[in-house]
C-alpha cells in the first residue's frame, strides 16, 4: 500500500502521471518553481497545525454526524421559539428544487448560460411584490436587520435627511445590525436612529410620541408588522400619513408570511418595505435560513435609483414571445461603481430566493390565507391555554399573528428557570425578553405556527403547568 500514491477524489490532477505531463509541457521540474513567485521570507515553511485527514467518506460522515448528534433539534424537541427565525413547515417540493445541483452550484453566470436562475429570481421578485403590493422588489441580501439599516440609508439618500424614527419594540438584534450600518455618531455620515415609544398596554406605536419626534430632519419613519413582540400594528396608514406630512418616507418592516391575511404594506402607502423571507420555505439552519429583502414604490424612479441591491428587469429576446431577465441599473451598485456605489452588494442568500419562489407558487393565494388563519388559531389557542395557568399573564394586545408575550412574574419564576424546566420536558420555550425589555418583567416571546398541532400545544401547556408548580 505504501508505494501506491494517495489521490484525493476532489483533485484529479494529483495523479503523478498527469502532473508530470503538465509540468513537462511547462518545462518545469516542480510546482515549487512557480511558488518561487512568493519570496522566501514570506513563505510559510511549517506544516499547517490542523488535524490529520479523515479520508474515507464513510469515516468523515461518521465523524461529523457524531458531532451533530450532540445537538438537539426542533424535531427532537418541541420548539416554541421564533423571534425572527420561525419554524414553519417546508413543503418537500421546495427542498426538491433548491437541492437541484444546477441551482445549488450555480454562481454569477450570464443570461445565456443561466436563464433559468434569472427567471426564477424574477418570479421570486414578482410573487413577493404581489404579497407586498409593491412594484419594485430587489434581489435579497443578508437578513432583516441588514435590510432595515440599508432602507434607512436609502431614505437618507433620497431625502437628504439623516434621522430615522423606529419603534422601541424593534428587535434589539435588528436594531444592532441597523446601527452598525448607520455608523457611530462620530462619523460624518452617521444616520441617527431614534426610538419611538410604544403603548404599554398594546404594543402599538405611541402616535403622540411619534408626532413629538417627527421633524424636518427625519428621513423616514420605520414600523414593523407584526412587531418583534408579535402584535399587529393597526395604525399603519396613520403612520404613513404622519411621515409623509413631515416630508419623510414610510418604511414598513414585514414578515411576508402574514400577508395572506394582513393588509400589505403597499396598500397602506409604504414607500419602502423590508423584512425576512426565512419563513417562506427555508429551514431554520440555526439562523442561516434568513434572507433580507427590500421592496419599493416604482412610480418614482428615485427609489430604484437609490436602492442599494441588485435589480432585475424582464426583457424580450430577438425570438418573438421569448422572455429573458437581466440586471438593470448595474452602475448603481458597488460592482459598477466601487466606493461610489450605493452601499455594497455581494454573495448573500441567492438560493433562498429560489426556495421562496417555489414556496409562494405552491402556496398560492389560498395557501397563504389558510396558513394565516391557522397561525392565528393556533397561537390564540395556545395563548389562551397558557394564560389560564396560575401566575401566567398574556401581555400586550390580543391582536397578534403567531407570536405573543407571556409573563411569569405571578409565578415568581424567571424565564431562564421556566425554559430550563421545559427543556427537561423536551420543549424549547419562548425567547427570553427580560434583558431586552426589562419593563415587561420576566416575559418570554412564544411562537406557535401552522407547524404545531393541537397535541403539541396541549403538551406545552401540561409541561408548563408542571414547571410552574
Amino acid at each position: 500500500m505504501a508505494d501506491r500514491p494517495f489521490i484525493h477524489p476532489y483533485i484529479p490532477n494529483a495523479v503523478p502521471a498527469t502532473k508530470e505531463a503538465m509540468l513537462s509541457e511547462l518545462g518545469l521540474d516542480s510546482v515549487e518553481e512557480i511558488f518561487a513567485e512568493i519570496p522566501d521570507r514570506l513563505r510559510f515553511k511549517g506544516r499547517l497545525d490542523i488535524p490529520e485527514p479523515i479520508l474515507a467518506e464513510r469515516d468523515l460522515r461518521r465523524h461529523v454526524k457524531g458531532l451533530l448528534d450532540r445537538n438537539t433539534s426542533c424535531e427532537d424537541n418541541l420548539n416554541f421559539c421564533g423571534a425572527g427565525c420561525w419554524q414553519h413547515y417546508v413543503p418537500a417540493v421546495v427542498d426538491e428544487v433548491v437541492n437541484r445541483a444546477e441551482f445549488l452550484s450555480a454562481y454569477c453566470g450570464g443570461s445565456y448560460s443561466d436563464l433559468g436562475k434569472y427567471q426564477a429570481r424574477f418570479e421570486f421578485n414578482s410573487q413577493l411584490g404581489e404579497l407586498l403590493d409593491l412594484d419594485g422588489v430587489a434581489n435579497p441580501i443578508y437578513d432583516w436587520g441588514d435590510v432595515a439599516g440599508r432602507s434607512f440609508r436609502m431614505a437618507k439618500r433620497i431625502t437628504g435627511r439623516n434621522r430615522v424614527l423606529a419603534p422601541r419594540t424593534m428587535s434589539p438584534m435588528r436594531l444592532a445590525e441597523a446601527r452598525t450600518l448607520c455608523q457611530p455618531e462620530v462619523m460624518p455620515s452617521h444616520v441617527a436612529i431614534d426610538l419611538v415609544d410604544y403603548e404599554p398596554a398594546t404594543g402599538r406605536l405611541d402616535l403622540a410620541d411619534l408626532r413629538a419626534k417627527l421633524g424636518d430632519d427625519v428621513a423616514a419613519v420605520y414600523w414593523e408588522n407584526p412587531g418583534y413582540l408579535g402584535t399587529i400594528e393597526d395604525q399603519g396608514a396613520e403612520i404613513v400619513r404622519l411621515a409623509h406630512e413631515a416630508g419623510a418616507l414610510a418604511i414598513a418592516g414585514v414578515d411576508p408570511i402574514t400577508l395572506g391575511v394582513l393588509t400589505a404594506p403597499g396598500t397602506l402607502g409604504a414607500d419602502i418595505a423590508c423584512g425576512d423571507i426565512q419563513g417562506l420555505g427555508m429551514h431554520m439552519h440555526a439562523g442561516a435560513g434568513c434572507s433580507g429583502f427590500i421592496a419599493f414604490r416604482d412610480d418614482d424612479p428615485v427609489f430604484a435609483q437609490e436602492c442599494p441591491l441588485e435589480l432585475y428587469t424582464l426583457l424580450h429576446t430577438e425570438t418573438p414571445g421569448e422572455w429573458q431577465v437581466a440586471e438593470a441599473l448595474p452602475e448603481r451598485t458597488s460592482y459598477g461603481a466601487r466606493d461610489q456605489g450605493k452601499d455594497w452588494v455581494g454573495t448573500a442568500s441567492g438560493l433562498w430566493t429560489i426556495a421562496a419562489a417555489v414556496y409562494m407558487t405552491v402556496m398560492g393565494p389560498q395557501g397563504f390565507r389558510e396558513l394565516g388563519e391557522t397561525c392565528l388559531s393556533h397561537s390564540h389557542y395556545a395563548a389562551g391555554r397558557l394564560a389560564d395557568l396560575p401566575g401566567v399573564e398574556l401581555k400586550l394586545s390580543p391582536a397578534f399573528f403567531k407570536e405573543f408575550v407571556l409573563n411569569f412574574d405571578g409565578a415568581h419564576k424567571t424565564v431562564a428557570e421556566v425554559n430550563k424546566g421545559l427543556l427537561e420536558h423536551a420543549i424549547f420555550g419562548g425567547k427570553d425578553l427580560s434583558a431586552e425589555f426589562p419593563e415587561l418583567g420576566q416575559s418570554a416571546l412564544y411562537c406557535v405556527t401552522e407547524y404545531h398541532s393541537e397535541a403539541n400545544i396541549v403538551e406545552l401547556a401540561t409541561a408548563l403547568k408542571e414547571v410552574l408548580s
Binding site: T18, F44, L67, L68, Y107, G110, Y112, R121, T347
Partner: protein, 539 residues
C-alpha cells in the same frame, strides 16, 4: 520560451479545437430550451400546490373565527395575485428552470475567475440537511447546540492556523460582509484610541475586489484607490504617497485579480504600520497561497476567507454564503458578538465583549458554510490543503500555456513572472484585428456547454478582459476543453466573425433585445405586476 514548444502548443490547440466527433475537445452541444412561460402566466385559478394544515376541531371551536383577532384595518381586502398551480405543474416549471441553468456541477466553471468554483462534496449536503443541523433554532439553549458550536469553534481554529491570525468571527454572511466587518473593526480600534477624527482614509487598489473600496465607504471613510505600476503591482510610490497620519489602513488583495503575487507585500504593510495604520488583506480566494503563505506572516493585522470559495461551500446562485474574518489579538476585542468560546469541553456564546462593534448579522451567522468548510478541511488535512494550492497553481499555469498560444490573446503585466491561481487576460489584439471583443467570445462559449467567462470587475483596467480560474477541481481534459473553446472563437473571429459576433446559437434563449429597459423608468420592470402596468395590461 523556445519556438518548438510553441509549435507543440499550436499543434495541440489545432487538434483540440475540433468537435469531439472529429477528434477534438469541443462538444456539439445545445442547452435545454423549454420556452418556459413565466410562472405567473401559467396560473389556473383554483389549482393547489400544497395543502396547509387547518385548525383542528378542538382549536377551531375554542378560538372561533381567527380573523376576529386581526384589527379591521389590517385585514387584507384582496388576496395576493399569486399563481395557482398543481404540484406537478409547479415542480416541472422550476425543474425546467434548473435545466436552463448551467450550474458548476454540470459545466466547467473554470470560466468564473475570482470566484473559485470548486467542487462542493455531496456528503456535505447530506450533513447540512440532517435535522440536527437544518432544524436548529439559533436561540436554543447552548447545551443543545454543543455539536454545532464545537464544529464552529474547531473550524475557527483551523482557519487561524491557515492564516496565522489569533482571533476569528464567523458571523458575516458573505465575503463582502466580512470585508465590511473589517472596516467597522478598524473604525472601532481607532475610536478606542481617540484617533478617529484624525484618521478617515482607507487605501485599496484597483485590482482588489470592489467591496474593498465600497465597504469602507459605507463605514464612513474616504477611499483612496492605488493604480498598478507598469508591472501590474500596486504602485509602491503611489501607495507610500497615499499613506499619512490620516490613514486608517489598507484593504487589498494578494494575489490581486491579475493572479500576480506582489513579492513586496510586506513592505506595503510596513509603510502602513510606520504611519500607525492597520493592514487588511482580502483572501476571499486563497487557493493560490493556502499552506504556502500566511497573511499574518506578511504582517497583516486582519484577513478574511470566503468559505463558499476556497473552502468548498456551494455558491447557490449567489448564497447563502459565509465570510470568515480573522484578526490579531489587538483587534480581537472589537469582533462582532457573539463569539464562540470554549471552557474545557463546553462551548458557549460570549456576548460579554464591551468593545465589540456590535452585530453585522442577525443570530449566529450562516453556519451551513462553516459545517461544510469543517468537513472539507477534516477530509483534506494539512497536506491535502497544500496540495489544493499546488494543483490550482499548476492547473492555472498549464491553462495559461494553452491560452497564450491562442491568436489574439495577451497577458498584460509582469512579463517573466508566473501567475498563481488565476490570470487576467486581454483580447485587445483580437478586437483590434477582427472586431471581435471579449463580450462576443464570452457569449460564444455557451454554445459549447461552457459557462460564459467572467471578464473583469469594473472598471476595465485591462482592455477586453477575461479571467479564468482553473482551481484544483478541474482535470487536464477540462483545461484542454476550455482552451479549445477560446481557440475556436479566435479562429472564427479571424476567419469569419459572423458566427462569434451573433452568438450564442445554442443557448436556452435567443439574444437579448430591448436593452433600453435597463435604464428607462418607463420600461424597466422588476416584477410582473410592474411589467403589466407599464405595458397597459394591468388586470
Amino acid at each position: 520560451m523556445s519556438a518548438h514548444v510553441t509549435d507543440d502548443v499550436q499543434a495541440k490547440l489545432e487538434r483540440l479545437g475540433k468537435l469531439r466527433r472529429d477528434g477534438g475537445a469541443l462538444r456539439d452541444y445545445h442547452a435545454p430550451r423549454w420556452n418556459e412561460p413565466l410562472i405567473m402566466e401559467q396560473s389556473v385559478p383554483g389549482e393547489r400546490g400544497v395543502l396547509v394544515p387547518l385548525a383542528e376541531e378542538e382549536v377551531a371551536s375554542a378560538v372561533g373565527d381567527p380573523l376576529q383577532y386581526v384589527p379591521k384595518t389590517m385585514r387584507r381586502a384582496a388576496p395576493p395575485d399569486l399563481p395557482e398551480l398543481s404540484q406537478h405543474q409547479a415542480l416541472r416549471h422550476y425543474l425546467r428552470l434548473s435545466q436552463m441553468t448551467l450550474g458548476m456541477d454540470l459545466g466547467s466553471d473554470i470560466s468564473e475567475g475570482t470566484c473559485t468554483m470548486k467542487y462542493s462534496p455531496k456528503l456535505h449536503e447530506e450533513l447540512v440537511r440532517y435535522h440536527k443541523h437544518a432544524e436548529l433554532h439559533p436561540w436554543q439553549d447552548e447545551t443543545t447546540l454543543q455539536g454545532l458550536l464545537q464544529i464552529v469553534y474547531d473550524c475557527g481554529e483551523y482557519l487561524k492556523a491557515i492564516s496565522g491570525m489569533q482571533a476569528i468571527t464567523l458571523q458575516p454572511g458573505g465575503g463582502s460582509h466580512a470585508v465590511y466587518t473589517n472596516a467597522c473593526v478598524m473604525r472601532a480600534y481607532f475610536a478606542a484610541r481617540g484617533e478617529l477624527e484624525q484618521r478617515d482614509e482607507m487605501i485599496t487598489t484597483i485590482f482588489s475586489h470592489p467591496c474593498d473600496a465600497a465597504t469602507p465607504a459605507v463605514a464612513g471613510f474616504k477611499v483612496i484607490t492605488v493604480m498598478p505600476d507598469e508591472n501590474g503591482y500596486p504602485d509602491l510610490a503611489a501607495f507610500k504617497a497615499a499613506v499619512s497620519e490620516r490613514t486608517v489602513g489598507c484593504m487589498i488583495t494578494n494575489p490581486e485579480d491579475t493572479g500576480i503575487y506582489n513579492p513586496q507585500i510586506d513592505k506595503y504593510v510596513e509603510v502602513l504600520h510606520e504611519a500607525g495604520a492597520l493592514a487588511f488583506t482580502d483572501q476571499a480566494n486563497a487557493n493560490g497561497i493556502m499552506g504556502f503563505a500566511r497573511a499574518r506572516d506578511a504582517g497583516f493585522d486582519a484577513c478574511h476567507f470566503n468559505l463558499h470559495k476556497t473552502f468548498s461551500s456551494p455558491h447557490g446562485c449567489e448564497g447563502p454564503a459565509t465570510g470568515a474574518y480573522l484578526t490579531t489579538g489587538a483587534l480581537a476585542p472589537y469582533l462582532p458578538v457573539p463569539v464562540v468560546a470554549r471552557t474545557g469541553n463546553t462551548y458557549h456564546l460570549d456576548y460579554d465583549r464591551p468593545e465589540s462593534i456590535g452585530r453585522v448579522r442577525g443570530f449566529l451567522g450562516n453556519w451551513m458554510g462553516v459545517l461544510r468548510a469543517y468537513a472539507w478541511i477534516r477530509n483534506l488535512g494539512p497536506d491535502g490543503l497544500r496540495e489544493v494550492a499546488e494543483i490550482s497553481v499548476l492547473n492555472n499555469n498549464y491553462l495559461d500555456r494553452l491560452l497564450m498560444g491562442v491568436r489574439g490573446v495577451s497577458r498584460p503585466y509582469a512579463e517573466g513572472h508566473r501567475r498563481l491561481d488565476q490570470v487576467r487576460y486581454s483580447l485587445e489584439t483580437l478586437k483590434e484585428e477582427t472586431g471581435v471583443g471579449t463580450e462576443d467570445v464570452r457569449d460564444r462559449m455557451v454554445d459549447f456547454g461552457i459557462q460564459s467567462f467572467w471578464m473583469s470587475h469594473h472598471p476595465w483596467v485591462v482592455p477586453e478582459p477575461f479571467t479564468p480560474e482553473p482551481c484544483e477541481t478541474y482535470s487536464k481534459a477540462d483545461l484542454d476543453e476550455w482552451a479549445a473553446v477560446v481557440k475556436k472563437a479566435s479562429d472564427e473571429a479571424y476567419a469569419d466573425p459572423t458566427q462569434v459576433k451573433s452568438a450564442p446559437h445554442a443557448s436556452s434563449s435567443g439574444r437579448l433585445a430591448g436593452l433600453e429597459a435597463f435604464e428607462d423608468p418607463e420600461r424597466w420592470a422588476f416584477t410582473w405586476r410592474a411589467y403589466r402596468r407599464k405595458n397597459g395590461q394591468a388586470g
